[in-house]
Symmetry: C2
Subunit: 218 residues, 2 copies
């Protein structure tokens, strides 16, 4: 009985997610869902990559997902782009964003005049991987401070993502982590994943990531 | 209907958790549940604090919770103490440990001859806070690399914990984080929380944390 209900929830979510992708195709915008542990640097990555994308003429918006607070949305709004904040606290402090909360967030934007919408998911390396948001592409950000073993311990996240971005490479001199082992572990879980590294803080490799995202835009 | 089922699950979990606390009281051991984001350093903290506790004559064991892999259990077993690994993957890759999986893990130990059992929960700053494991004390570990804002964004975790340990203070010179702001944010969410900081890597403040834990043992 319980399993049946869970399956219904996931099936309903998948249908909504497909309808989002259909709408994005029709209106001509690309939807990218960014996931990570808390503090891996999703917001910092957006702060560094969005100005580059704006320079390239991309018209974009961001959906910010948090259990509570509007801190990240405020950081993004400074970049002078439309931001919609989803707080999951009224829905029981949900640990992920489902397609059902993405739809009303998208409706806050002038979608016909957008090329790209980022979703910054709730900081959680487990649950968001289980729920299709309707995005065209799923990105996972992992920080060098989290250790080499995380792809092996949280494999679903790395399986559902097209792209993995290793952030905080500026800290490598002060950490014991072997970044090649981290890369090997990511590729072991998902051999087809696009693998990049950067420092959102220093800007290292940010132009390359902006170009990669630019090439994904419809 | 769905809400009813969720409430039943939580109520059943709470009853099991209370039975664990009753058993711990009867047998005379203390149960401490350690939670954090992935990569905050729960295992490293255990690796540094367990030898100190052993020196003080504490007989202890560890329950390792992971979705998959036995990597952390292997790291702890080197310390020559009993370890029970819970992998939640067969239960659908559960994002937390419920009391129902703690009971069979505890049964693997000679509980009458133990003073202290640590639970290392699944790396997740959201869901584990919602499920009582039956522990006497809940600890949250937060790394300096995660930013000052996390207590505000993940408040339930900091509300349910008795103790917060800020780890990786050795990295402070290389980060923009204001540790006093992080401490202030933790205290704002939970004014009664015990607040400590350390570096599991360099050993800074580890003897103090070991003494604090020693004082909690029944």
């Amino acid at each position: 009985m319980k399993i049946q209900i869970v399956r219904d929830v996931l099936e309903a979510n998948d249908q909504l997610a497909d309808s989002i992708r259909g709408e994005a195709k029709k209106l001509g915008f690309t939807l990218i869902n960014i996931m990570s542990s808390p503090g891996s640097g999703k917001t910092s990555l957006l702060e560094s990559v969005i100005p580059e994308l704006k320079k390239k003429g991309i018209r974009l918006a961001v959906i910010e997902g948090d259990i509570t607070t509007t801190a990240d949305a405020e950081r993004i709004a400074i970049l002078d782009i439309p931001v919609a904040q989803i707080n999951t606290e009224p829905f029981g402090g949900d640990c992920h964003l489902g397609a059902e909360v993405i739809i009303p967030a998208l409706q806050k934007f002038d979608l016909a005049n957008l090329d790209l919408v980022f979703i910054e998911n709730v900081g959680n390396l487990v649950c968001p991987a289980e729920f299709d948001t309707g995005a065209d592409y799923n990105f996972v950000v992992i920080s060098t401070t989290e250790g080499e073993d995380k792809p092996l311990k949280y494999p679903l996240m790395f399986r559902v993502c097209d792209t993995a971005i290793i952030n905080k490479i500026d800290l490598l001199p002060y950490l014991d982590i072997d970044i090649n082992k981290l890369k090997k572990n990511i590729s072991q879980i998902n051999p087809k994943i696009n693998l990049m590294s950067c420092s959102a803080k220093t800007g290292e490799n940010i132009p390359g990531i902006a170009q990669f995202i630019f090439n994904l835009v419809k």
